[in-house]
Symmetry: C2
Subunit: 491 residues, 2 copies
């Protein structure tokens, strides 16, 4: 199957596009920029959702649902928010269609024009804070710790499956607090939740940090981010958590009576991850044979393939395969037993390699005699023949090993492709020729940041948390700097 | 708390509206016709989703996600579908806003007009069948058994929380089959899944049947429905499953090669339930004190309220309450221990009555001495003092009893309010004065059906499955009829 996929070496970008489609994760739809998430892709997303939802609830959050549409005027209320979000978006202007007079189809009914246009939500701060206004009078009403699973629309001109689509699925947390300290604590709590999810479940190491003013969420005081390195050395922003200060409370006039009976504006955070994580997952681990999925997110952790000749063997194999399947299932492992007689074992092997199933078990007539089974791991493609006796324990251990191994592999790659440089020459050489993360001194101005971006397409991904202070000079301007920041080209 | 709620007797409709808001299930938003589903309401919806999703997966379905937007032209492809759905809907005509020249806000950018308008999906048959066209070549690609959890928009003029809103949440199954028989079998399988869910989880008895031509889904050959009776005797259509024949396959040219190497159009079904079920749940069981929730869908099955004086007692009670809470949790029961010292026990009792928590446990100083506890059930409001010794078993049994009791109560009410009539006089008397379900003979014509509706507002809810044949004369036209059908006013 590998030969059907462009290799990463040949063309990393094309490899990704082909893999997403060939592994049945998603495809483009008839609607420009909108994707269809296919069952196999959606099954991975469901696993992500389940793990995240549990983590959100464990940290005290509850789910709710707010409207898809936002009145146009809401966007004008928070000045920097409108600049960032209200521009490229889907606008609902009418609420009815009618038959054309000539019977040739339907058309928009000009008489059904909305008084105020509605924006399909690109993010929900405005509609949610207009709602919170009615929920909050006193400090007793705080904190509000709400998350929403939803679809959002941003009218992107150039789209790519999962990485950048006009419509995407995400979760957005929106919390309200009585104090600045509490809101900042929440902002940091949630970026930590995201980092833990990325590393423990996706097996993707991330760097936590703060965005520069330039790269901040529109309307935020501070944006925390987790940045992951893809195999080509580019960064992928994988989740953000925003401290919004009192900006949205002021825009929607949300005040509360404090314990000290003082009237004050409410403090806010918002935080989100999206189906973009699917792109990060694919690009972090997969190889030229197809997907490599971490066991904790794989829809099927194990596939069993029987190798047989004739109907007699087939029946015996089916029985044996089902027995193993049931043993594994009873241990909480998700298993697919592919006993279809319409496809050859070789075809199946290639198929499940493409689909990234972490462990493959295969057995033939000789294995039946010897009570053995072939076990193959997707991450290293190694296989060995083992006794069937301790199959459950062996598989369990192997799934843990694979989860850990692909994390370590991604971490090692990141370490190999991470540099600290002190000159503009080194900087441009790495960004343009080698690819990777570059720690370099920066003078702290947006002007310099923009000029570096114009010259190299590299952006400041973040100022890492607990960044060591160190005196140096800006690689671009030569001005003094007291810390290195993280530069990379990004998706 | 009861006194704050309009009683059902006084005004059933107002009772419902008040209850949904006071019990914190949902509220109207700033966007006309769109609701905010609040955390408590959403927690119930999540329980519904989890149960349904499990049932869908057990019957072989997988989830996927299709675009929010549908190109306008897609609706014209299936003639009856466009009549039913494309008229009252949200139309996206532009993809950008811009700052007004005078700086007074933002406006739609006239230069960003879409070539073809996009409809916010009111239902997804068209976009899904345009996708299935690329997925299906051979009988080997069939069946496709996909479900989608999504939001949809129908521009309703008169809206009510949960019952009829412009945007609502639902699931829509869309399946593709090689034969008519298989598709019909699937249609019936899913209406049975819905009926089982309504009766087992919601504790709402339903009547399964087929819709008349007039009430069919736009584009269906046959629509199966489950109809539930609310406490005021009106019907609420709670779920539908449609046999779509080859209508959508023909509209989108979806053909397959059969086992016999013949080219044929694919057979289709679709089926859905929505947040409307929340309305059915509230109206089936709740009373003048507030919600009555079935234990299987209650976010908290048990609430524990301590009754104490002074800090010393408070500490002892907290310890005791947490111990009971942990015992119940270990048995898989969801428990809230309300140990807040900011609210009095009486306030808490009323609050959890309003919120419909099935079982309330309360204990004071004397209970501590005697090792007893007061246990109250929400459905009957009965309470008794029991020994703490078998608390887990007692609560478990009581939850089962409540689940069964509210089902039986709803069933009994339906039986009391169900009539078989043979004359127009009786018919109008029941529909107009008593309210309820009426089985009556009908001549089988749409003309008569419409005239009955005009005269009484009653509609044919369904022709029940396995309906006994019986000769009679139509209550309206006097023409011959061979079966009674189910009439009622409906939500």
């Amino acid at each position: 199957m590998g030969k059907f996929l462009t290799t990463r070496e040949e063309n990393y970008s094309q490899w990704y596009n082909e893999l997403v489609i060939k592994a049945d994760l998603a495809e483009n739809s008839a609607v420009r920029g909108c994707m269809v998430i296919k069952p196999y892709g959606y099954a991975i997303w469901e696993k992500m959702q389940a793990a995240l939802d549990t983590m959100f609830k464990e940290t005290g959050h509850v789910n709710a649902y707010f409207p898809l549409f936002i009145p146009k005027s809401f966007f004008s209320k928070e000045a920097s928010h409108v600049e960032g979000f209200a521009k490229e978006c889907a606008v609902v202007t009418h609420y009815r269609l009618k038959n054309k007079a000539d019977g040739s189809g339907i058309e928009v009914d000009p008489e059904a024009k909305l008084e105020e246009e509605l924006i399909v939500r690109p993010t929900s701060e405005t509609i949610i804070w207009s709602t919170y206004k009615n929920w909050i009078q006193s400090y007793r009403d705080l904190p509000i710790l709400i998350n929403q699973w939803a679809n959002v629309v941003r009218w992107e001109m150039r789209t790519r499956l999962f990485l950048r689509t006009a419509e995407f699925l995400w979760q957005e947390g929106h919390t309200a607090h009585a104090t600045q300290e509490e809101a900042i604590e929440e902002t940091i709590r949630m970026i930590n939740v995201y980092a833990e999810f990325a590393e423990k479940f996706m097996a993707v190491p991330v760097i936590k940090g703060v965005k520069t003013e330039n790269e901040r969420f529109a309307g935020a005081i501070d944006t925390y981010t987790i940045e992951a390195m893809m195999q080509d050395g580019k960064a992928l922003q994988s989740g953000t958590s925003h401290f919004l200060g009192q900006n949205f409370a002021k825009a929607f006039d949300v005040k509360f009576n404090s314990k000290e009976s003082k009237l004050d504006y409410v403090w806010a955070t918002s935080w989100g991850v999206s189906t973009r994580l699917m792109g990060a997952l694919v690009m972090s681990h997969s190889d030229d044979h197809g997907l490599v999925l971490p066991p904790k997110l794989a829809p099927n952790q194990v596939v069993i393939v029987p190798i047989y000749k004739g109907d007699d063997q087939y029946e015996i194999m089916r029985e044996a395969g089902n027995k193993i399947k049931n043993q594994l299932k009873a241990a909480g492992i998700s298993v697919l037993f592919d006993d279809r007689d319409t496809h050859k074992p070789g075809w199946k092997f290639a198929e499940y390699e493409l689909k990234g199933v972490p462990v493959r078990l295969a057995f033939g007539a000789r294995d039946m005699e010897n009570d053995t089974i072939e076990i193959a791991r997707r991450d290293t493609l190694e296989k060995q023949t083992i006794s069937q006796e301790n199959i459950v324990e062996t598989v369990k251990q192997l799934l843990e090993d694979i989860q850990e191994n692909i994390y370590q592999k991604a971490l090692k790659l990141r370490e190999q492709k991470t540099y600290a440089v002190d000159t503009w020459e080194e900087f441009t050489d790495i960004i343009e020729n080698k690819g990777g993360f570059v720690y370099a001194h920066w003078d702290g101005t947006t002007e310099t940041e923009n000029k570096i971006k114009e010259a190299t397409k590299a952006t400041i991904r973040c100022i890492p948390v607990n960044n060591p202070l160190e005196n140096g000079t800006c690689i671009f301007s030569g001005k003094p700097s007291n810390q290195r920041v993280l530069f990379a080209k990004a998706y």
